[in-house]
Subunit: 245 residues, 2 copies
């Protein structure tokens, strides 16, 4: 018996998210089905991040146990031959038998992409959120410094998720804009609460439009009250970039 | 009667191209239908570039004549409210009555995007071509200098298009790579033959992989023979960026 780790990338547009739900196709389910076909074993992958409907990934992580004699590194190629084009395995390799993608200590990097043009540009539609009001990224960078560090992020957590603690550490939050008017927000931390990245982005957008001042983000954090922060930004702008163990 | 110019952007993935064809939906047709609904007149737009199936645009140009009293600049907004999300009008304005988007002198800028990673990354799938072999962009830049300038581009033209002359001038050809491993080839010129950009890209890819030497591009041009150049690169990597009048 071997435990195999997969690095999984996908376009979340056509899925109900990572995890199986009634009446909709999940990424997990598609991978299980194709692994079963390939390996002739019943497979249930364990995912590192149960991304929501519409959220994308470059490097989500999943593991499963198998008796297969296929060399671990070859599984990625064999599986890609069966998977739809919107799910691609970047890598497959053997890990220790007790490696767990959620319980093993890890850091995550997310990116959020905002197309900031008066009118939407359809080629970027699948992986950017469109914001038609001009966003001042200098104001947003200024606000970002209040978010970096160890804080109680209760204000940036969707209500009633039942986690033990809402304290998390954000290591970095970088904001850049390219010459196609796409603003990329890259955020790295030791753990993220449910919808935390999307609520941070929704708040930074309010800063960028001038609706709230950068300094007010410190007050939002101190309030530990979800209603003080901005709205949850759309799923399709979010990409889980990488998980570091 | 007024002549209105539209700047049209679209994701070409779900269309048979700009121009109407049997048994498939064209971009032109969707715009005509929605203009007819909006203006209560029979409208037939004239497009600047009849992009192929799967090719995208940020700034294609179309004109039509109308008796409407809607202010020209407002037509873009009213039309966007009716169009599908994968077609967006960036701008509408009145132009002189004899302005013709194809016959008026113009320069065009195209971009071609190649995702150069071992395994495809699905979020970029709709507007990049995936190349799994490493492409050396220094070699490609070296080859590009033979393409810039006025040349007979017969070798880079799909056969039998019946044009009067295959001489065109390429003003610039820039190649850059971003930190997501997307190579962007930007090419500007006074006119492009059928499939010319895609054949240039197919040839530059052969240079980038080392299959042909950069200097050989000069021989391909001199040969005036389509069979000497590389294959036609996939439609989905190509975007018509802008038309300058």
């Amino acid at each position: 018996m071997k435990r195999i780790m997969l690095i999984v990338s996908y376009n979340g547009a056509n899925y109900c998210g990572w995890q199986k739900q009634n009446n909709a196709i999940s990424i997990e389910e598609v991978i299980n089905t194709k692994l079963k076909e390939l390996l002739k074993e019943d497979i249930c992958v364990i995912g590192a991040s149960r991304t929501d409907a519409g959220v994308h990934a470059k490097g989500n992580v999943a593991v499963f146990d198998t008796e297969t004699t296929i060399p671990p590194e070859k599984i990625a190629y064999a599986l890609n031959a069966r998977l739809p084009q919107d799910i691609r395995i970047q890598e497959s390799r053997e890990v220790r038998a007790d490696f767990h993608p959620r319980y093993d200590k890890n850091n995550k990097k997310y990116s959020y992409r905002i197309l900031n043009t008066k009118i939407n540009v359809p080629i970027y539609n699948e992986y950017t959120m469109h914001a038609s009001n001009y966003l001042d990224i200098e104001l947003m960078k200024n606000a970002a410094q209040y978010i970096v560090g160890e804080h109680d992020f209760k204000s940036f957590c969707a209500a009633n998720t039942g986690v033990k603690t809402t304290v998390r550490e954000v290591y970095s939050l970088e904001i850049t804009k390219n010459n196609n008017d796409i603003i990329t927000i890259e955020i790295t931390g030791n753990g993220f609460l449910y919808n935390m990245v999307r609520i941070i982005v929704g708040t930074l957008i309010q800063v960028g439009t001038g609706k709230i001042k950068p300094e007010y983000v410190a007050e939002i954090i101190a309030a530990k009250d979800r209603s003080k922060a901005g709205p949850t930004a759309k799923a399709k702008g979010l990409t889980l970039e990488e998980i570091y163990y």
